[in-house]
Symmetry: C2
């Protein structure tokens, strides 16, 4: 009922990072695209086949050193139901290889509708007397603008299925402050209010190692706020986007971790997925290039935070 | 580049309502379910087939009197990619019958990722040299917590493809006030701030009849705030959930309309979809029961607001 399974993998691999699977068709190595288009034509099926092969190769190359993947739902939805099929197959494949899967869907709604999202992305769906799995992730990113009515239906599923959520608190983009940094009367900003709600919601899904099943998204691009929020939210695990291509570095994310080197998992997508372009190596070697970049990222962060310990 | 196409249909049909397509498998009339399960078994395919048939029957029964449908994405995602396929077929079918389709996905992200959602739900997706359509709605609900970086990518698509968006401002649920009603220093609440941003964003996608392509979601369950926001946001068209099953009535939504009877479209889902249960009629007659309830809703609202005029 928490993010304990993610933490266990982070400690085992001594690597607090997650590979963002944001497959842009036009950046997928040409040999893969040509193979898929050769079979299916320039169609949604063709795009989905190229994406799935790309993802599987990356998972194969990284699953022994990276604890988790984070598919960004938007890049699958844009290829229609065929893309969503590739998403569900990616989730299953990553889990089979031992990885923890964070679905980055930023879903939000209320009551039974939010319950439907919880079933879709974390739980099970009942069809007649049969239980089916739609996407079956281990955690889901969500948006808390609608308040507790939008979060409670998720907590039931987290408890029953041993899953977790990450609520948007302080996002990594330049305009995140337009609303999130605004102060309410009394002096608390919207992001700190949202963070406080995460601590409250988390009480319903406590974990074994100090962090609950309700995590928070806090961007690497605002290192001071990341460090402040780490102190203010002692039971809330952080998913940290904005590393690499968006500008955050290892020193910027260090403040997101606690004294045990736990408390955060840092995402990188483009810098790893398309490392072959930056390296200028043969596109066929994209997976090896991705692994080299993932190792560099791991080592850079570990050199800042030291060994990661799991408190009992 | 706006919601003009929706307004035109509302005026033509003299009906400012939208049918929420939230198909709950267990509430779909038994004959439809049995037929689908008979062909596909109790599988995601079976569920998707029952949902699609249910939706098509309702669209056939209502398309001459109701201007728009609003499929709630969660109820399709919970049936996996098969459910998403039923969603895309529902969108196409409703448009073929002349209805405006609002995809209720409450999507949110930033930059190129939000661009991917815009392509998925409103625009087109490029696959090699070919342009494909993923879900192809006419409008999309979105969550503005991430600020302008999350909205601007949508405005490009609204402009190019003549589409619209609805940003969550004041939602219909009991806990919506936890954050949305909180006051920032200076006295403006979060929901009013979000409403003000809608007016700003809307300037980039003006419409021909006074309302821009950036609408707002404002719940029927808070009639005073609905009326206040109507005055404060003269260029922002409202999508009003919370009518019927959630407790809002015709008098509650009246304040959402302007002097021409324009300015809002009111959603009802369960009360219409499952009218056959409330009426206690033969489940086979579910579509006729839905039509009767849709007529009652239309007449109740029109009796409050009068004839709807399109200003030039």
């Amino acid at each position: 009922m928490s993010l304990d399974r993610l933490m266990m993998r982070i400690v085992q691999k001594q690597n607090p990072t997650v590979l963002g699977l944001d497959p842009k068709l036009e950046s997928i190595p040409e040999p893969l695209r040509n193979r898929a288009f050769g079979t299916y034509g320039e169609t949604m099926e063709g795009a989905a086949a190229a994406i799935l092969e790309f993802n599987k190769s990356l998972i194969d190359a990284l699953c022994d050193i990276v604890p988790a993947v984070k598919p960004q739902c938007a890049y699958y939805e844009m290829y229609g139901w065929q893309g969503m099929k590739a998403l569900s197959e990616t989730v299953r494949y990553a889990q089979k290889k031992g990885m923890f899967v964070i679905l980055d869907g930023k879903r939000n709604d209320i009551g039974t509708t939010m319950g439907a999202y919880a079933a879709a992305h974390l739980g099970k769906t009942r069809v007649g007397a049969t239980e089916c799995t739609a996407f079956g992730g281990d955690a889901l990113t969500v948006n808390g603008y609608l308040g507790s009515d939008g979060i409670n239906p998720l907590l039931d599923v987290c408890r029953e299925e041993d899953k977790g959520i990450f609520v948007l608190v302080k996002t990594s983009n330049p305009s995140s402050g337009e609303l999130q940094d605004r102060e309410f009367t009394g002096g608390c900003t919207l992001m700190r209010e949202m963070g406080g709600l995460c601590e409250e919601w988390g009480k319903q899904v406590p974990g074994r190692h100090g962090y609950s099943g309700v995590g928070a998204v806090v961007g690497a691009t605002y290192p001071e706020q990341l460090a402040e929020l780490r102190k203010e939210l002692p039971h809330t695990f952080f998913l940290v986007p904005g590393y690499g291509a968006q500008g955050g570095g290892a020193k910027d994310v260090a403040g997101g971790f606690d004294k045990n080197g736990l408390g955060a998992v840092v995402n990188s997508s483009r810098a790893i997925l398309y490392a072959y372009q930056k390296e200028g190596c043969d596109p066929k070697d994209f997976a090896a290039a991705a692994r080299r970049e993932a190792v560099r990222m791991r080592d850079a962060i570990i050199s800042e935070i030291g060994a990661i310990l799991l408190p009992l």
